[in-house]
Symmetry: C2
Subunit: 179 residues, 2 copies
């Protein structure tokens, strides 16, 4: 078991980081007035920001499994970014080879059962829906762009663009430019 | 207006990045078997990862306004990370000076009205609740830790730790170590 292994490692890394870090007071307002909705994928961690020229203080970043708008959580966060934090432009950035586009409900259910998730709980949900499986990466970006744009909490004059990044070569592609 | 200004800038930055980037195939499984739930705050962008020693490919990162579990979206993403992507440890990492701990509902409503959000829409919601305001940063971390732990989709043997980071000096503090 790896229990608490990462906690110790993370705390040690932070101790080292703090030694050399020059304390700095930054504004909580994103300097580039930008919010990005993207995926929790591990290959985007510490990669998306440099790949698109975004540094500390520049943008709000929202991440979940599949950059999906399964619940209202993405719209809530984007609305907070706009109305409380000065955001004026939104980008939904998906990526190819997304785990949420390749969900095998039977395998997922077997994995859950093996880890002790209750049979009754599993029988009461459509797992593919519950986990937020998406049909295709490009299509999902467009679904989420539309979901954000059609919310009454999102002003019409805030552009919401759809993009997708290739995790192999880092190349970003525009799917929909909102004018 | 800044419309599309950031889109052009981001695409240009990506063009430059791709020129020097050596294409690399990475596993979609996080190498440190870790999922982190944290905030969309702009001061965490490009900062949290180096501050805790996490690099590309190491961990899944989930982010929303206030690292809050307002909806089931955080639990859904953590469950996907565990059951489909091999995650064995979870950290909820809040931060001090969080915008979601200082929501002024009247100011927020005025901002929304000024941006054209419909009066009727605003009259139908409790804005403070809708936006996911939190009572305090430390308390909120513990609420989210409990929400994840009590979900029937999260195995009992996956530790869920609560931590908080100081955005000024980068120091990480443990609020609850899950043994």
């Amino acid at each position: 078991m790896v229990i608490n292994m990462m906690l110790e490692e993370v705390l040690k890394a932070n101790e080292e980081f703090v030694k050399d870090f020059e304390p700095k007071k930054l504004s909580h307002m994103p300097q580039k007035k930008l919010a990005i909705v993207t995926c929790m994928d591990t290959r985007l961690t510490g990669f998306l920001e440099p790949a698109i020229g975004i540094g500390r203080g520049d943008a709000k970043i929202i991440k979940n499994a599949g950059n999906a708008a399964v619940d209202r959580d993405v719209v809530r966060s984007v609305a907070a970014a706009i109305h409380a934090l000065g955001v004026e432009e939104v980008m939904v950035i998906g990526h190819y080879d997304c785990g949420m586009a390749n969900v095998d409900p039977e395998k997922l259910e077997a994995n859950m059962k093996a880890r002790g998730v209750d049979d009754k709980v599993l029988s009461e949900v459509n797992l593919k829906e519950w986990i937020g499986a998406i049909d295709g990466e490009e299509e999902n970006v467009m679904v989420v762009v539309e979901k954000i744009k059609e919310s009454p909490f999102i002003p019409d004059d805030v552009p919401v663009h759809g993009l997708i990044i290739d995790l192999y070569d880092g190349k970003l592609k525009v799917l929909a430019k909102d004018e």
